[in-house]
């Protein structure tokens, strides 16, 4: 999918929930490619959601989870808002038009690329920082549990630990989709 399609889709998605500023709402007009990435550090919640959707390749991320992720990541890193602004700029200008370009982008722009990995990590793991197993204090912060993206691939057959998705011992039966599921061997 080319970037303008994606951004059009994203802005359709967010137009319902966001108060996007007009000067940022026409991202399919590429800026001069030589422009430096560094933007300002006034990032709106919909900017963060837009960047998150692009980085994860999902179009149904929750604004409430985004707010928690943004709060946690920006309180841990004073330059985080500027990195989000950079990422949005890079997406809009096509410097990061597709996540397949991410490795090249990261070589050129290590700072926003590091922030991008923190964003992706927060959406997948459902927390930020590094949790300590044997200490009541660490730098981790909660972002999401059931909606953490790492649980999606198995959501049809099991639920994350706490409440059972069905009857007791439901997990004894092999998933009905097992035969048709792609495995790493058949992929």
């Amino acid at each position: 999918m080319i970037v303008s399609d994606l951004l059009r889709a994203l802005s359709r998605l967010f137009s319902r929930t966001s108060g996007r500023s007009p000067e940022r709402s026409a991202p399919d007009v590429p800026r001069a490619s030589a422009a430096p990435l560094r933007g300002d550090d006034s990032v709106s919640s919909s900017d963060f959601l837009t960047v998150s959707c692009f980085l994860t390749g999902k179009n149904d991320l929750s604004p409430a989870v985004a707010a928690r992720a943004y709060a946690a990541l920006s309180s841990a890193d004073a330059t985080f808002a500027a990195s989000v602004s950079d990422l949005l700029g890079a997406i809009c200008t096509g410097r990061l038009a597709d996540m397949k370009m991410f490795d090249d982008f990261a070589r050129q722009y290590p700072e926003p690329a590091a922030a991008a990995l923190h964003i992706i990590s927060a959406w997948y793991l459902g927390y930020t920082g590094t949790p300590e197993p044997l200490c009541s204090e660490d730098d981790s912060a909660f972002v999401a549990y059931e909606s953490a993206l790492m649980f999606r691939p198995t959501a049809d057959v099991t639920a994350p630990p706490s409440y059972t998705p069905g009857r007791t011992d439901y997990w004894q039966e092999p998933p009905a989709s097992l035969k048709s599921d792609r495995t790493c061997l058949s992929a």
């Binding site: 949790p131 300590e132 044997l134 200490c135 981790s140 409440y163 011992d169």
Partner: protein, 112 residues
Amino acid sequence: MTASSYDADVVVVGSGVTGSNLAYELARKGRSVIILESGIRIPRWKIVENFRTSSRKVNRNDPYPNAPYAPNSYTPGYIENTGTFRFLPGMLRLVGGTTWHWGGSDVAVPSQ
């Protein structure tokens, strides 16, 4: 008896499996028993909710109360570890004591 005055044959300190069983057996034999517990009592659903909203699910103490007046064993400085390796057991401070570890559950292993 007023609110501030209690009397019993036996006062048990701690409501873990040791204290609870001791109190139970003594009460069955007709003794009056009081259990003193430093930690709070919280319902299971709150512990489950604490687990679900914990950012450190690798930390098995995290869903449980950890009050300044009843710190659990993962509070920095609570256990002095001087061996050649790190050893910090996950001891809890609440009504029920360390039996609550692993969510206080005993997962049934299916017969097959």
